[in-house]
């Protein structure tokens, strides 16, 4: 959901890192495949190797940053907050709406019976 912005940003960053790890392996495979050919395309080779190195460094930096942030933020205690009370209040409001709808339908049925 777009509502949990702060949590989603970090989780989205971690998902991007996962995709980048897959790209790292793919680059490595492309480089080795290119080396296996008789006529190697040097430009492609250099580009893929540079991309591989940059991706690895980027992944390491990002993950180090996430671990550093967690070291600063984690308290070791369990989080005891909840949204239970407001969820219960909202549930009761929806029950009230359902009850009102039920009673209105009873009144409507009674009026129809009277008309008949």
């Amino acid at each position: 959901m777009a509502t949990y912005s702060l949590a989603n940003e970090r989780l989205r960053a971690l998902e991007d890192i996962e995709r980048e790890i897959g790209a790292i392996l793919q680059n490595a495979g492309t480089v080795i495949l290119e080396l296996s050919k008789e006529k190697t395309n040097e430009r492609l080779l250099d580009r893929q190797a540079a991309a591989f190195t940059a991706s690895v460094q980027h992944v390491e930096a990002e993950l180090s940053g996430q671990i550093r942030y967690l070291t600063q933020v984690a308290t070791g205690q369990p989080h005891e907050g909840s949204s239970y009370s407001s969820r219960k209040d909202c549930q009761m409001a929806l029950k009230r709406v359902d009850y009102a709808r039920l009673k209105l339908s009873d009144v409507a049925r009674t009026c129809e019976q009277m008309l008949e």
Partner: protein, 200 residues
């Protein structure tokens, strides 16, 4: 500037293990890749025959490629563990998520109550008319003549005219009857005891 808090041993150990895993996996990927590139170099002089050297290089490349894949998978597992740790222990984002959820639920509850109140106001007007009609018709016309409620409602205008004629003297009576009532009161009091002065 955030200072490092004194974490419990387990959490601190866990985060240190994450760091170590990250360093080891990245090092493994880089080293194995570099060694594969190095072993791809064709050397003129070899200690064993070319075929043997080729087989050895082939086996080494397979092992190093498997090491790169294993390190990549270990990095994915690390990212998954970090996600889990983040969800459980990142209190600022958990607090914000809880606040947002509370706001959403409260807004929904207020909207439901607001709409119920508006519905109540509308229905109370209609119910008042229905009740008026029901009680007036059940007391006078409907029970006597067996007319349905809707027809009684349609004849409300006619009934209202006759009802106005009946109620006018009843309504008007308190004002002009001040004299007759007051005349009756002194008559009663005259019988019981000394009367009021206006009698005289």
């Amino acid at each position: 500037m955030a200072q490092q808090r004194a974490l419990p041993q387990s959490k601190e150990t866990l985060l240190q293990s994450y760091n170590k895993r990250l360093k080891d996996d990245v090092k493994s990927v880089m080293d194995n890749f570099t060694e594969i590139i190095k072993s791809a170099k064709i050397e003129d002089e070899t200690q064993v025959s070319r075929a043997t050297q080729g087989e050895q290089d082939n086996y080494e490349m397979h092992v190093r490629a498997a090491n790169i894949v294993r390190a990549g998978e270990s990095l994915m597992k690390l990212v998954s563990d970090l996600k889990q740790f983040l969800i459980l222990n990142d209190f600022p984002s958990v607090n914000e998520a809880i606040d947002q959820r509370n706001q959403q639920l409260r807004a929904l509850q207020e909207e439901c109550d607001r709409k119920l109140i508006a519905l109540r106001d509308e229905v109370s007007i209609d119910l008042y008319e229905l009740e008026e009609e029901y009680y007036s018709s059940s007391s006078s016309l409907c029970e006597a003549n067996g007319r349905p409620l809707c027809e009684a409602y349609w004849r409300l205008d006619l009934d209202t005219d006759s009802a106005d004629g009946l109620s006018a003297p009843v309504l008007a009576s308190p004002e002009p009857s001040a004299g007759p009532l007051q005349a009756a009161a002194p008559a009663h009091s005259h019988a019981s005891g000394p009367g009021p002065t206006e009698h005289a």
